[in-house]
Chain length 448, copies 2
């Protein structure tokens, strides 16, 4: 098993991370000389029950990776070993480079059901080869960003920090997820590699084990604060308010330790924060802030704030790390056009929108978003801001679009605030924000 216990997936193996049928269908297209251009649309059919919008994320990130996807020699050898593929096809696959176009929402754009997050226009085999990995990459970041932004909204300006690496689904989710968190507006992460890679501040406090390994809590606080002046001390190992008193004592003895914050990680966080705040203030430490963690989600954070709990920052892990109340979206990557003609599967009760499309976000005179129109991409006369932008052209990544994705974090808050207030509600329910079809798309859809 030694060969397989590393979670490393090299770039030259990544093309094998696909569903087998993508490769067998691609070989079939190759054998049948089917090389016409196809359009595939990536979208989800319905909002998850606990989301009023999704924050599209991962499209630029995935496109950057997929536009340079290759089947390396070792990948080709392993496919040859399956006995399913002709040598001629494997030669073609070894030379394959993505030659198509990708139009995509910029990361950090709020998106609703049936709106394409991206569309791929390419010779059919090229578009098919991207499907499985594109879906995996875009879904992960979109699911995590869409959950994280709810925590940011709930905290109403107070910093929210990711503590969830240990309970995320594997190594890649833990690293790449931090990118989604950055876009969503988190203030920091405890995850060292994720923070370093994706340029989010790395934060850390201490664990109960550090306190327990010392015979005396006060000595543990003093030792840690001497190693790290200006640190955050975890006060709830034995008795929270006793812990706060010990922090006050070590600060009285050695003010230069400059303890910056205390952290509560169990019990009734609201009551304990009030008690801790009173003790700290009474001792003249109104500059020491209070960080709370322990099974928090957006509803608990909103309730704590509503209740006036004097908590200055929140650490969140488990619920956010897997987006526990909506860990998956029903993402589809559907063929919508081939050889210039619309193609849609007949699915009773399901909407399948044919052809290449554009989304127009309507803006009123005050700059507020008042509704989306999904239209045919080349349909004229539709007002509003077009949301799908060319990201890859003939296999080449657009550098400006990539740079826009890097700045996504700066635009998210503004974008969300321009929507009607009900998309920002945390309670279960649907937003009344209207998403409509254009006349052209409506006509085409009823025809196909």
């Amino acid at each position: 098993m030694n060969g397989t216990n590393s979670p490393r997936v090299d770039d030259n193996e990544l093309a094998l991370l696909t569903d087998l049928y993508q490769l067998t269908m691609t070989q079939a297209y190759w054998k049948e000389s089917m090389q016409e251009r196809a359009t595939f649309s990536l979208f989800f059919r319905k909002m998850p029950p606990n989301r009023r919008f999704m924050l599209a994320c991962g499209q630029q990130h995935a496109a950057a990776l997929l536009s340079r996807l290759r089947f390396g020699d070792e990948a080709i050898d392993r496919l040859a070993g399956t006995g399913l593929f002709d040598p001629g096809f494997l030669d073609w696959l070894g030379d394959w480079r993505f030659e198509g176009d990708i139009w995509a929402l910029t990361e950090g754009t709020p998106v609703f059901a049936n709106e394409p997050l991206l569309e791929v226009d390419a010779p059919i085999a090229h578009a098919q080869l991207l499907e499985s990995l594109m879906m995996n990459l875009v879904q992960l970041e979109t699911v995590l960003a869409s959950k994280a932004v709810r925590l940011v909204m709930a905290a109403r300006g107070r910093p929210v920090v990711d503590f969830g690496m240990r309970r995320m689904h594997g190594v890649d989710a833990a690293v790449r997820g931090v990118r989604a968190y950055r876009t969503a507006g988190l203030a920091g992460t405890s995850n060292v590699l994720g923070g370093l890679r994706h340029d989010l501040a790395i934060n850390g406090t201490m664990a109960h084990s550090y306190i327990l390994a010392h015979d005396d809590e006060r000595e543990a606080f003093r030792a840690f604060a001497r190693h790290y002046p200006g640190t955050t001390l975890l006060v709830d190992t034995h008795d929270t308010l006793e812990g706060v008193r010990k922090v006050i004592e070590i600060m009285r003895d050695e003010p230069k330790l400059g303890v910056k914050a205390i952290r509560l990680d169990s019990g009734d966080l609201g009551e304990l924060a009030k008690g801790a705040r009173a003790l700290l203030d009474e001792a003249g430490h109104d500059d020491i802030t209070i960080v709370a963690s322990s099974g928090l989600d957006e509803h608990k954070i909103a309730a704590l704030i509503e209740d006036g709990a004097p908590i200055d920052a929140f650490g969140v892990g488990t619920q956010m790390g897997v987006s526990a109340d909506a860990p998956v979206i029903d993402l589809s990557y559907k063929l919508v056009e081939y050889a210039g003609t619309p193609r849609v599967k007949h699915s009773p009760g399901k909407i399948n929108l044919p052809c290449r499309k554009q989304i127009y976000r309507q803006v009123d005179a005050q700059g507020r978003y008042v509704g989306d129109i999904i239209a045919l991409r080349d349909e004229s006369g539709i007002s509003g801001e077009p949301l799908l932008r060319p990201l890859v052209r003939a296999g080449k990544l657009d550098d400006d679009e990539m740079a826009r994705a890097d700045d996504a974090r700066e635009r998210v808050t503004d974008a969300i605030e321009r929507f009607p207030e009900d998309i920002r509600h945390l309670a279960e329910g649907e937003s009344a924000y209207p998403v409509e079809l254009s006349p052209g798309l409506e006509r085409l859809q009823s025809r196909t």
Copy 2:
């Protein structure tokens, strides 16, 4: 962004995938010369609401990786860049090799709340450095195996195949998850890299896009079956039973195509399977089997079988791929002993079991499991099969234990069948299977 869009995490970066406090606490232990041995216990406090047992998975896999974890030069440089660490400590970290012991359940062992999945005994800094990544790795495989085994149980001997790669959380979950699926007894996967790496059969059918890209469904079937004699054809793109009739026609014209199966992927799967079966049988094709997919979970599979649906194999994706009804377990890695003395955090309403432990699984005369006893590891006089086995000793992996993990798949079904019937029920609820504390552990716990 080009430097960071690959999901590759090299082995020499992997040590940075941790929470910052693990590194700051470790430096604090180093500065304080705290080198006594500590025991940390990995367990979960309560069963998720929809699980009657969890299938422990990933411990051997994680131990193999963690026993050779290193902070490479680049990792050390990046840590130096944070300004938090002393040069002397970074030298120590660069030379660090795990020197401790790990006792663990063999993968594929059913496990219940408060039972350790593994325990690490090591100088405290060593045990602390494993925490975050160990939790991430073990949780993922345990969560996925525990969901997958429910689908296997629901299918009552019919093959269950993983189609979920596209909706799993990132690259690592998609690859490593297949290992958990293999342990849980899945028959195959559509995931090429996952199947190749973790030795599970790779299966594939075709997508609606292939049918839609052809002008005629019958011609699409014929072309695909000629490329792949003995294949599975997807019959529901336009009208399922019409699709079945077309399969019968192409088989009448060219029997050597040897179509092996048809796949249903939408609509009322039970009714359509009955209709398809009748058409196939009437045409003399009782050897063509029926594969069903489309939003399946264990409850839908059980209901289809209960209803007599003539479905021979199931393809499952979304619900299984993220373990949607229980995507996370409340896994803890707690210090339980340091310098030879028990250490536990005081947590009202929570059980924290001190010291090194062993789990004994009691067997009756018929070989049935009748209850577990969690005991102190060196407590004598407890009958039953000891479940925690030495896997790493002084940093060295035990090859026999690793080999046992490779065979886990073969033991899972037998193990599950030896439990009382109620652990195999799929409905929400708790099993009455008793998990008790030994007299020695009970005494120690009430004392600490």
